[in-house]
Symmetry: C2
Subunit: 319 residues, 2 copies
C-alpha cells in the first residue's frame, strides 16, 4: 500500500533483538537453542467475527498477540518472536498508535519481539494475522495426545468470565454495568500463563489452551490420547464475579464458554506438589478438577456425584 | 467456525512430514539443522486488493504460497514448512478443492509442507495469510545490506510479463487475447527459483525478490548496502512475449512492473562462472544486468549509454 513502509517504521519497527537479524529484509532470521524444536502457530482475526468494530484498539493489540502466545503456552514453549500481518481499510493514526502499544507491551513482557510482517490496505474491514514462534526442548513439548489414565486434570486461572462478558456485549444477556466491568477484562485482555507453561514442559503430560470451552477442548485431549475423563463440576474454578448469577447460565459459561486462554493440563498424581510450587512461583492459580480415566468420553458430575448432561450447557452446538 | 475442523481435515490435512510433530495440536513443532538459522516471512492477501474475485482458485492456492516461498528464496533459505490462515465468507467446496490442490502441489514440489493453520468464516471477502519457515546456514543468508561496489547485478528469469497481464486484467491496457495468454502465467503462477536461491547462499552477496518492480526493489538493496548502481537497460531480460509492444510501456513493465517473484542479486565478478553453472543445474535463466558502484542512487542507461530518467517509468509513484 502507499505509505506501507512508513507505517511499519512508525508503529511497528523496534531495534532488532539479540540473536535476530534480517528484520526489514525479505525474511527475519532467528536461532534456536541446541536440542530445542521450534513451536509455531498462527491466528487470523477478522473484524466483526473475532472482535467488535468498536473494541478498544489497545486491547485488540494485546489480544491479537495473547491468543497466539496462549498456543505457545499450551505446548510449554518459550516465546522467541512473532510476525504481524495487518490489513486496514484506511490509515487511522488514532487507531494504530494504541493498537501497536498494546501489542508491543505484551510482546516485551514475554520476550516475544515483533520481527517481521506485512501491512496492506483492505477493501473492507480489518484483518489481523499473527504468527508466533517459540522453542521447547525436544520431547518435552506438551502434546494433546500425552494424557494417561490416572492423571489429574488441572486448570489454570478461572473460568466463565469472558463468556459472560461476550454475552452482554453481543446482547444475548442484559447488560449489568458493574458485572460487565468485572468480567470484561477477562474477554479483552487475556493473560496466558506463560511462565507456568514453560515450567510444565517435562512435568505435565497433555495440555491445551481453553479457547472454545472447557468441555470441547478437554474432549480434544481425550480423543488424541484415547482416554476418558471425570470432571468434578464443584471443583471448577468459576470466576468469583459470576457468584449470584443464574446457575444454568454459570454452568454454560464455565463448561462451554470460550475465549479463556488459560491452560487445561494433565499430570501424574505424584507431581501435585511440584505443580503447586511452580504455580506459586508464577503467581498463577491452579486447580485440580478431575482425572483422566481409561475408556472414552467426558463425564461431568455435580457435588452429589450426579452426572450433568453436556447437552444442557449447549455442548451439542459445537459438534 | 462451524465445521472448522472438518474443513481442515478434508482439504488441508496431510500426513505429518518427517521431523514435524504437533500437527493438529496448538502448535506445530519442527527441528532445525545444527548451525542453521530459521528464516520466516508472512504475507496477507486480501480479495479485491491482491487478487481478483474471479481468479482461478488453483492458481490462487499456488500464488499464495509462491509469493512466500519467494521470500525464502531471497534469503537463500531451504523451505521447512508453512502455516495457512484462511478466512472465507462461505464454505464453497468447488473453490476449496482446487485452491488446496494448487497450494499443496507447490508445497510438495519444494518440500514445504503445510504444518498448521487457522480457518475461519469472514463477514466479507476472502483473506489468506501464509507464513513460511526455512533454514539457512548461519552467516550465509542473503541480506539486502551485503552488496559491495564492483559486484555484478544479476536477475533470474525474465521481467515485464506479469505487469502487462495485470494491466490487461485491470483494464488499463486493452486486452489482446493471444498476448494475455502468453503473459498471464507469469502473473498467476509465479515460479520462484528455489533451487538456484539455495545455491546462492554463501556465493552471492545481496539478494531480494522482485515484487514491487526492479527499480524500487534494487533501490532497497542500494539503501541497505550504502551503495549506488548502474543498470544497463538493453541487458535486462525482457519477457519475449513483450516484443513489438510500445517501447515506453515495455520500459515501465520491465523497470517498474511488480509481481515478478524472481531474484535480483549481487555477486563478485570472480563468481560469474560458478553462478552460471549453478543456474544451468537449476535450469533457470540468469542475466548480468549492471554493477554495484560506490556512492548512492540508481542510474539506468540505454544501449547508447544515455541515462533513462526513472520518472518516465512511473517510478516516482512509489516514493
Amino acid at each position: 500500500m502507499n505509505g506501507e513502509f512508513d507505517l511499519i517504521a512508525r508503529y511497528f519497527a523496534r531495534p532488532a533483538p539479540a540473536g535476530v537479524t534480517g528484520v526489514g529484509d525479505d525474511c527475519a532470521l532467528f536461532g534456536v537453542a541446541p536440542g530445542c524444536q521450534v513451536a509455531t502457530s498462527t491466528d487470523l482475526l477478522i473484524e466483526g467475527r473475532h472482535f467488535f468494530s468498536n473494541v478498544d484498539p489497545r486491547s485488540l493489540g494485546h489480544k491479537a498477540l495473547a491468543v497466539n502466545l496462549s498456543d505457545l503456552a499450551a505446548m510449554g514453549a518459550k516465546p522467541l518472536g512473532c510476525l504481524l500481518g495487518l490489513s486496514l481499510p484506511s490509515v487511522d493514526h488514532g487507531w494504530l498508535q494504541p493498537f501497536a502499544e498494546g501489542f508491543h507491551a505484551l510482546a516485551r513482557r514475554w520476550g516475544c519481539p515483533l520481527i517481521g510482517g506485512d501491512t496492506t490496505r483492505s477493501t473492507t474491514g480489518i484483518a489481523i494475522s499473527v504468527t508466533v514462534f517459540g522453542q521447547v526442548e525436544a520431547d518435552k513439548a506438551l502434546l494433546r495426545s500425552a494424557a494417561l489414565p490416572g492423571d489429574d486434570i488441572w486448570i489454570s486461572g478461572t473460568l466463565g468470565a469472558a463468556d459472560v462478558a461476550l454475552r452482554m456485549l453481543q446482547g444475548s444477556l442484559p447488560t449489568d454495568e458493574p458485572l460487565l466491568k468485572a468480567v470484561r477484562t477477562a474477554l479483552e485482555l487475556p493473560e496466558p500463563p506463560m511462565e507456568l507453561a514453560q515450567g510444565l514442559a517435562g512435568l505435565a503430560h497433555a495440555a491445551l489452551d481453553i479457547s472454545d470451552g472447557l468441555a470441547q477442548d478437554l474432549g480434544h485431549i481425550l480423543e488424541a490420547s484415547g482416554c476418558g475423563a471425570l470432571l468434578r463440576y464443584a471443583d471448577l474454578p468459576c470466576d468469583p464475579a459470576l457468584q449470584g448469577l443464574d446457575p444454568d447460565l454459570v454452568r454454560q459459561a464455565v463448561l462451554a464458554g470460550g475465549d479463556v486462554y488459560q491452560l487445561c493440563f494433565t499430570a501424574p498424581i505424584e507431581r501435585r506438589a511440584a505443580i503447586e510450587a511452580l504455580a506459586g512461583e508464577a503467581r498463577v492459580r491452579v486447580t485440580r478438577v478431575g482425572e483422566i480415566q481409561a475408556g472414552a468420553g467426558l463425564k461431568v458430575v455435580d457435588a452429589q456425584g450426579v452426572r450433568i448432561p453436556l447437552e444442557a450447557v449447549g455442548f451439542d452446538h459445537f459438534s
